[in-house]
């Protein structure tokens, strides 16, 4: 049972959290202007990185806040978590 550090509540067991997939995939500004292929890319396509990966988590059984994390998909280690409004929040 891994611990995940909610940026607000601190470390909690992983079952308190839900996974939100890849982070930093914004909703397109003007969906109507996108081709079917571009739109499909937003809807269906996500990276499948081995190693460091920026992803979204939600502390669903706690404070219900979304946050981002850099996690190693091979070791499951969380390198860091950061709030959505964190100025450092752009993926390195």
């Amino acid at each position: 049972m891994q611990l995940i550090a909610c940026p607000w509540c601190g470390p909690r067991e992983e079952v308190e959290f839900s996974y939100g997939g890849q982070a930093h995939v914004p909703y397109p500004d003007s969906p109507a202007e996108l081709s079917d292929e571009q739109w499909a890319h937003y809807v269906f396509h996500r990276d499948n990185t081995r190693g460091r990966f920026a992803e979204r988590w939600n502390h669903s059984a706690g404070c219900r806040r979304w946050f981002n994390a850099i996690r190693d998909t091979a070791t499951y280690r969380f390198e860091r978590v950061y709030r959505l409004d964190d100025p450092k929040s752009v993926t390195p």
Partner: protein, 955 residues
């Protein structure tokens, strides 16, 4: 009564008390403090069972969980399969029998209790032997929060099975003092009979405590029999000791063949002489202690057979005791059937075995060295290193937050283990920023005798002619050297492949004695270093754990939470039959005496369509959406326009995912310019709130809007049917309930005896209907007022089944039943609910994707079985005949499937909803549904079968 093989004195059993048990139907006695194994040995019994494949007699070969021989089935106090006689504590009334490999599960429910406890500590120490006790004392004295867990019935570890001395006194005196000191420390949890069976991420260790079995009939029923400790430690000290390793030779499985250290344990801990004439076969010095101790206790030690050409410096000690030592010799085989009668001994030099001679014995002790118990370290992804000198795998790296101490780290002298335990604990404290106590003294152990180097010997070449087919590597799997050789011959190289080919290490004991032997033998056969072969992966659990223990308290009523509404007790008293909707218990129907569900539902449906019915709709999801941008948010999330909704009005809406597929639907009440009440499906309540939060938090943080669940803040009672106006008007006289003053899809606030109540004209049945919302504190009172007022009209409580029939008759889909995540609003015939004005909303862009424009997409339609009799099973496939009126050849193309199907009181026939390819174009056609082997013709219709004009909604 002293049993035949019990020593006259000594051991840690309670000789003053005798307990009676049965084994294989025979009544025997033992003492509290015995294990089943020690009691059997005390009764002169070595053989426990026969082996799974070959049916060879097998006996007790070790003293604890590493024993590969003594599998038993417990019959009393409760049937339990596959336990080791060596780990079952003796209790009065215990009944057991030997197992040929496979056990039998109980066929009666287990009435014992099981539970779990979470516990957090700074330092967790696993193992209460010398290193573990030293570590625990060091940690405890600092004031840190400490847990010490140990799988035996008492602390002491290896000290329990020896004669060690500390501070010039028996070492067990120090153990007792240490235990007392730990008991007095307020922040220390010390658990015996507790096996740490798994080490997981972030200092998480699971341990199984056996709490009551040893109490026998006195075990309190209200205390859990077993407990899973969910330990979370900032730092872990693994002091789990080591397992003695056998040497493989021909016929090494005969009962009476035992690890040397185990015999010592049986002697010192249990006061049992495991034999009368012993041969000791060793590759290292440790077995000399067994030879000398047994000799002193009266066993005739016929010979110590030491594989090392130079033997041991302890030879002289043996000879003084009259024990013959044969250096440069090995045991090549045994004789005997149910018990060893002879050891075959031969000279051994440079890997070559000479001619054997037989030495009579009823006990053959074996020591091939010691394997550190690295299981927890390895489970934590610690890398192992092969130690050439020890012939064993030891921890090969430092891990964050987990350190290994004592024998588990490859140290085998008492002074070294004590010091190592303390060193590791101090390092753990330092890492946590905790200062060790000033007075941190540990006892002094005698200066260790430096042992001679052990010989690493995995197997004795088979000179018996059996070619390794009786040289057992894994006794539990009946797997031999010949099997390993066959695996290598088949081209397998990886130890993991050899394991799966031979099944070595896959039995109950998970290879505790066979694992490293296999690595050694494979390396030898391949001619590669053992380090390269490595070990198979160590996985939890270390020893088997019953599913009941893992389930813990989550059984029976507590298996899955039952959510109930404020009216639940009323429903129960009214004889409701409940159905599970997610975790909710909802009344499905209210049968009257003699009614089955079909009759009850037909009656309830008719009552609603002709009179008035009432439903507990409290499980509907409710979300309060507040803030200046509330309407903006809803416009973005619903397919239709919500910002144009007037305060006081209600609108139906559909929500889609970004892929354009419907995810939920429901009505929306505009409470104020800046406040809406969003209703969701029962199953969608949490999902929709999460959906809203996700968009607000991650995409639109600038929106000034807040969403709050109020699902349980309001009970909801739809009062439905042509007479509903009379009922609601009577209970809430302050509200003008006329169609003109209170039109369809509007809501009004009122009070009842000062309690706020909200009424809404929303209909899920097509009938005139009022939904009554009130704080659940008043649910029973308001419900009963409505029933009272409805009595003159025969008001009928109805359940979810009737609700489903009524809505299906009107073609209202249930999201998740009539949809499956691949259905757009257009597929549902709800293009009218999709705004063309809004520039964007979630899902909009996907509607124009090519796949979503396909005219052959599955669309929601109605189906009427032509025979007016058949209720089509939900989920049935739909097919059509070829032009020639016959079924096309297989595979028959599927047109779609039935999503909802009921018998209609109103239509006086069964009907169904279905998703059918190009369904709306097929209205009027006849298609077929296979039901129980026959093809039922059904007419495709529009989805609205009752009151398609909507004439009834105003009563």
């Amino acid at each position: 009564m002293t049993s035949s093989s019990r020593t006259p004195e000594g051991g840690r059993v309670d000789r003053a008390t005798t307990v009676e048990f049965t084994f294989d139907g025979q009544t025997l006695t033992g003492h509290p403090g015995d294990t089943l194994a020690s009691a059997l040995l005390a009764n002169g019994r070595h053989q426990v069972a026969t082996s799974i494949k070959l049916g060879r007699p097998r006996g007790i070969a070790a003293a604890w969980a590493e024993d590969p021989g003594g599998l038993v089935q417990i019959e009393e106090p409760f049937p339990e399969p596959m336990l080791l006689a060596t780990t079952v504590e003796l209790a009065d009334g215990l009944a057991a029998s030997g197992l040929p490999g496979q056990g039998r599960l109980a066929d009666v429910p287990d009435s014992a209790r099981y539970d779990a406890v979470h516990h957090h500590v700074d330092v967790l120490v696993v193992g209460a032997g010398p290193a573990g006790l030293a570590a625990a004392l060091t940690a405890a004295r600092s004031g840190a929060r400490v847990a010490l867990v140990d799988e035996q019935s008492e602390a002491g570890g290896s000290l329990l099975g020896g004669t060690d001395r500390l501070d010039d006194a028996p070492a067990l005196q120090w153990v007792a003092a240490a235990v007392a000191e730990l008991a007095a420390a307020p922040e220390v949890l010390h658990l015996q009979r507790t096996t740490a069976f798994g080490s997981y991420d972030d200092g998480f260790v699971l341990a199984l405590e056996r709490r009551t079995d040893h109490l026998g009939a006195a075990a309190p029923k209200h205390v859990s029999r077993q407990r899973v400790w969910r330990l979370r430690a900032r730092s872990i000290v693994v002091a789990t000791g080591a397992h003695e390793r056998p040497v493989v030779f021909a016929d090494n499985d005969r009962p009476g063949t035992m690890l040397a250290g185990a015999a010592r344990t049986f002697l010192h801990r249990y006061g049992v002489l495991p034999g009368r004439e012993a041969v000791v076969f060793t590759t290292n010095d440790s077995a000399y202690d067994a030879a000398l101790d047994l000799s002193r206790a009266g066993v005739r030690v016929q010979a110590v057979v030491d594989a090392r050409p130079e033997g041991s410096p302890r030879r002289a000690e043996c000879e003084r005791a009259g024990i013959r030592v044969l250096s440069g010799a090995v045991v090549t085989g045994t004789r005997g059937v149910e018990r060893v009668t002879h050891a075959l001994v031969a000279p051994f030099a440079d890997g070559e075995v000479g001619a054997s001679s037989a030495i009579a014995c009823d006990l053959l002790l074996v020591s091939g060295g010691w394997n550190p118990a690295v299981h927890l370290f390895s489970q934590s992804r610690g890398r192992l290193r092969y130690d050439e000198g020890l012939g064993a795998f030891v921890p090969g790296e430092e891990l964050d937050g987990l350190a290994v101490a004592g024998s588990a780290a490859g140290l085998f002298d008492l002074a070294g283990c004590l010091a190592d335990g303390q060193r590791v604990a101090r390092a753990a404290l330092a890492a946590l920023g905790v200062a060790p106590a000033a007075d941190d003294r540990l006892p002094t152990a005698p200066e260790p005798v430096v042992p001679a180097a052990p010989l690493v010997l995995w197997r004795v070449p088979d000179t018996s002619g059996a070619e390794g087919t009786t040289s057992f590597v894994d006794l539990q799997r009946d797997a031999t050297v010949a099997d390993v050789a066959r695996a290598i011959g088949a081209g397998l190289r990886s130890i993991e492949h050899v394991k799966r080919y031979t099944t070595i290490g896959t039995a109950h004991d998970q290879g505790k004695t066979s694992g490293v032997l296999t690595s050694g033998i494979v390396a030898e056969l391949l001619g590669v270093p053992v380090q390269d072969t490595g070990t198979t992966t160590f996985r939890p659990p270390y020893t088997p754990v019953a599913f009941a223990a893992l389930a813990g308290r989550d059984r029976g009523r507590l298996f899955d939470p039952e959510r109930v509404t404020a009216l639940h007790d009323w429903h129960v008293a009214a004889g409701a039959v409940f159905e599970d909707v997610g975790q909710w218990k909802r009344p499905r129907h209210y049968p009257r005496p003699g009614e089955d569900m079909e009759a009850a539902v037909l009656r309830e449906c008719a009552a609603v369509r002709t009179g008035v019915g009432i439903l507990d709709g409290s499980t509907l999801g409710k979300i309060d959406v507040q803030g200046p941008d509330a309407a903006v948010l809803l416009d973005r999330l619903y397919t239709n326009l919500m910002s144009s909704l007037k305060v006081g009005s209600v609108r139906y809406g559909v929500m889609c995912g970004v892929d354009g597929m419907v995810i939920d639907d429901g009505t929306v009440l505009r409470l104020a310019e800046d406040r809406f009440l969003v209703l969701t499906t029962t199953g969608g309540a949490a999902k929709v709130l999460d959906w809203m939060e996700e968009w607000v938090q991650t995409e639109w943080p600038d929106l000034r809007v807040h969403c709050t669940s109020v699902t349980e803040q309001w009970v909801t009672f739809p009062v439905v049917g042509p007479r509903s106006r009379d009922v609601v008007g009577a209970v809430f006289p302050g509200v003008d309930v006329s169609a003109e003053a209170f039109p369809f899809m509007t809501w009004r606030d009122t009070t009842l005896e000062g309690v706020p109540v909200r009424l809404a004209r929303i209909s899920f049945s097509g009938e005139l209907a009022f939904e009554v919302y009130v704080n659940p504190w008043y649910a029973v009172a308001v419900w009963e007022r409505l029933l009272e007022a409805g009595r003159p009209y025969g008001i009928t409580p109805y359940g979810t089944e009737t609700m489903h029939v009524l809505r299906a008759e009107k073609g209202y889909p249930i999201i998740g039943q009539d949809t499956d995540g691949t259905v757009t609003p257009h597929d549902l015939g709800m293009a009218w609910a999709v705004s063309k004005k809004k520039p964007d909303f979630i899902g909009k862009r996907s509607f124009s994707r090519q796949a979503n424009q396909d005219p052959l997409r599955k669309q929601l339609v109605g189906l009427l079985p032509v025979d007016r009799q058949t209720v089509l099973p939900e989920g049935s496939q739909i097919v059509e005949f070829a032009a020639d009126g016959e079924l096309p050849p297989p595979p028959v193309p599927m047109l779609g499937h039935v999503t909802s199907s009921y018998r209609s009181a109103e239509l006086a026939r069964p009907f169904a909803l279905a998703l059918v390819k190009g369904g709306r174009e097929r209205i009027g056609e006849t298609v077929h549904v296979p039901v129980h082997g026959t093809l039922v013709p059904v007419e495709v219709t529009g989805s609205v079968l009752v009151d398609p004009e909507g004439a009834r909604r105003d009563g």
